[in-house]
């Protein structure tokens, strides 16, 4: 593009007339602006679909604290609870509450708030989608600075849920005073930022909490714009109007991250791509399942389709998870796949046929990945027909156990516990499981209530090995989250995928 002197003068005049300042990457950042990829429909982090939407958790965690703090590497740390545990016979839990913390309205945070938040979460009348977890505790009571609850049903992961979905502490007195509607209009928490202004579907403006117990955030004011279109998010950062964005195409990330004034960080997050196998039709043949697993070159998919951003997986456990076992490896071996199929009477001339379901555009390159996998399968003697559906349809079919023999999905597990990955995905009685064979149910069943942590984790590792050996599922890869930002900001990525402004500092 070339400009004449006249056209440049006209442009400058127009810019001045419109009062638009052409952004400069070099300017020091006063107010941090983030182009966020989802809207925030509701401010109650314990009710409704947004409460279980992993992407929204970063917004909630900016305003509210969870019971227990989760660090960027997914490990827990003292937060509003400074210490926690079970009594000796595991019939009670106890939680020590941090002192000196203030709510955003200046009132004192107390153990009563913790007890009330736990009891509220366990109350079916509130509509908390995770009520079945919180309902395992009852009779919450306060003794000094300690909260005690009775264990109705022992769940070794209960404290992990305290830094997972709906595990937030809300203000008892304030909520009871203003009600649900008042809380929506003016939410308060104990978190690093206070809500200054909120326009639904548009933006939220946050102001740093000067009393934050874990250190005052560096940026005094943060505006989070809800920019749901990826192309618009790229344009926001490229034009300098926003300083940070996430979830953009890898190609755009590579194009812009080395540009002057911009930088990027791309780290693995707790979200994996996988293919469910359903125990129906040809999938009941172990040779077919194992062939389908060995025929897929995961690294090639990562390199060619995801620009190298991804971590190939052999189990549903990623390296950050508690039950990750690097010794479990399922190699890419197309010759072995052909042999296995031949043993069941299949070949490229007489392929085994089944349907694979996938979303298209729900996750980065989901449909393209399945196309590539179907191509790899075809070379060894598997002819799979692709059926595209919406993710809502996937949930419905999965809950009714009516998925096709193979179905692509992504699974998030930001607490990194094996129960919330391998457990729920592979335990037959769970409505979210697809493989329901009795052998696997038997192996997993004993682990749900295993009190000894070391035994429990080793048990899940053994289950993962068993699943890999029998090819009950096809784990593909761990996603990498691209975050593009101004070089004037330091961004600390969180392995949960939450983008947290209070972890950002000036460069």
């Amino acid at each position: 593009m070339t400009f004449s002197r006249r056209s440049l003068l006209k442009m400058t005049a127009a810019s001045v007339t419109l009062g638009v300042a052409v952004p400069s990457f070099a300017q020091a950042i006063d107010e941090l602006v983030i182009a966020y990829n989802v809207n925030l429909p509701s401010w109650d982090p314990t009710v409704g679909p947004s409460a279980v939407n992993p992407t929204i958790q970063g917004l909630y965690q900016s305003v509210f604290d969870q019971f227990i703090l989760q660090q960027p590497d997914l490990t827990p740390a003292p937060g509003l609870l400074t210490d926690w545990g079970w009594n000796e016979d595991r019939t009670q839990v106890w939680m020590d509450v941090r002192e000196g913390v203030k709510w955003h309205d200046g009132s004192d945070f107390t153990a009563e708030d913790v007890a009330w938040s736990l009891a509220r979460a366990a109350d079916p009348a509130t509509g908390n989608p995770i009520q079945f977890v919180w309902g395992t505790l009852a009779n919450h009571r306060v003794e000094g600075n300690r909260v005690i609850a009775d264990v109705q049903q022992f769940d070794p992961t209960i404290f992990k849920w305290m830094y997972f979905l709906t595990g937030y502490v809300l203000p008892k007195a304030y909520y009871e005073r203003v009600g649900a509607e008042g809380f929506e209009a003016a939410p308060i928490g104990t978190g690093p930022y206070m809500v200054e202004q909120y326009e639904r579907n548009a933006f939220v403006r946050l102001r740093a909490n000067p009393d934050y117990w874990n250190g005052v955030p560096e940026f005094e004011t943060v505006t989070i714009r809800f920019v749901t279109d990826a192309a618009s998010r790229v344009a926001e950062v490229e034009s300098g109007r926003s300083h940070v964005t996430l979830e953009i195409p890898y190609e755009e990330y590579d194009r812009l991250r080395d540009r002057s004034g911009l930088a990027g960080v791309a780290e693995p997050v707790s979200d994996i791509a996988m293919i469910f196998f359903n125990d129906i039709d040809v999938m009941e043949d172990e040779n077919v399942r194992r062939a389908a697993v060995h025929a897929v070159d995961k690294q090639l998919i990562i390199d060619r389709l995801l620009s190298g951003y991804g971590v190939a997986l052999s189990t549903l456990e990623t390296p950050e998870y508690a039950a990750y076992d690097p010794s479990i490896e399922v190699p890419y071996d197309p010759d072995l796949a052909r042999e296995l199929l031949a043993a069941s009477g299949y070949s490229t001339d007489n392929p085994v046929r089944f349907t694979i379901q996938t979303t298209r555009g729900f996750k980065p390159k989901d449909y393209e990945m399945i196309q590539a996998i179907v191509g790899m399968w075809r070379r060894v003697g598997i002819e799979a027909e692709i059926e595209v559906y919406e993710v809502a349809r996937h949930f419905e079919l999965r809950a009714a156990d009516q998925l096709a023999p193979a179905a692509f999905y992504n699974w998030g597990n930001s607490v990194g516990d094996p129960t919330t990955s391998t457990g729920f995905a592979m335990f037959g009685p769970s409505p979210h499981s697809v493989w329901d064979s009795p052998d696997l149910i038997e192996k997993i069943a004993t682990l749900w209530a295993e009190p000894d942590e070391e035994t429990r984790i080793q048990g899940w590792k053994d289950v993962s090995r068993y699943i890999a050996e029998h090819a009950y599922v096809l784990p593909l890869l761990q996603y990498v989250q691209p975050i593009l930002h101004s070089s004037g900001v330091n961004v600390v990525p969180h392995a949960s995928g939450a983008l947290l402004p209070h972890l950002m500092t000036r460069a």
């Binding site: 809207n39 989608p129 548009a202 714009r225 034009s239 419905e396 809950a399 769970s430 409505p431």
Partner: protein, 335 residues
Amino acid sequence: MFLRRLLSRIATTLVTLLGVAVIVFAVIRIVPGDPVAMMLPPGATEADIARLQAFYGLDKSIPEQFFIWLGGVVQGDFGTSITTRQPVLGLVLSRLPATLELSVMALVIAVALGGTMALIGTRQRYTRTEGAIDVANGMALSVPDFLWGLVLILLFGVLWPVFTISGRVSPNLVPEFTTSFFLFESVVRLRFDLWLDLVQHMLMPALALAIPLAAIIGQLLKQSLKETMHLDYVTLARTKGYSENHVILREALRNAVLPTLTLIGVQFTFLIGGTVIIERLFSYEGLGNMAIDAVINRDLPLIQGIVLLFALLFTLVNLVVDLLYAVLNPRLRHA
């Protein structure tokens, strides 16, 4: 006569709305995607699913749910949104002004651009200028509005960043107005800083919506004008010595504009429909943007409310156009 026609149209509108309500209610419950299944995390049991279905009133039969909902609608209660936990009517009405302002601005731009093209094309008919206008019209028509949106973002948002890419108003300028018609109210209250900010936010999405419509208006109006230019009364005006500009603007345009007016009415309803994608692209906080979120989250009450309001808008626009046409067309006026 006129009153009877008006009452008849209103009755038709009510029947149409009832039909839309029935269809939408049934369809969104039949198509795949259960809001509760989407909400439940792994580990939930059948009992948990049943509990949440009862919580959102989805445990009843579809006819039962419909009559409960319809009973509420008649009393002005459109239900509560599953995702926002807010009354649907309030949510929808709070976003409607943003969409209406965007649509009207797009329409004004389309009429101005299309009208200008048509007038220049007619004035310069059978010359290269008319050819160039036809080519420009063809290009404008062949590219859908969301692609125009992307082109505009690249041109005026990134390469030459004079307009704002996303949102309706700058966060530091959000007004506390009586209505949500910010553009209109900012003029009334003489808040021209705010008006300029709103225009900066609206121009790109409005232009993206307007370009294809401008091409349609331009083509039809030019064709109409060219046909009118051959009529006797136009020839008479020429023989009286009026200039070509006078003949086009004062004599031919009045008759030639009638078919275009009908078209604008029909296209305006499509334009409102087009805001769904454009609002999403520009993160404009209107009804369309909200509609996409509602569909993604299977927020059934909100989808019902939005669709019903869109249907009401469409029928009202058509009604207004019909009445306007009757007023402007002497044959209908005296029928």
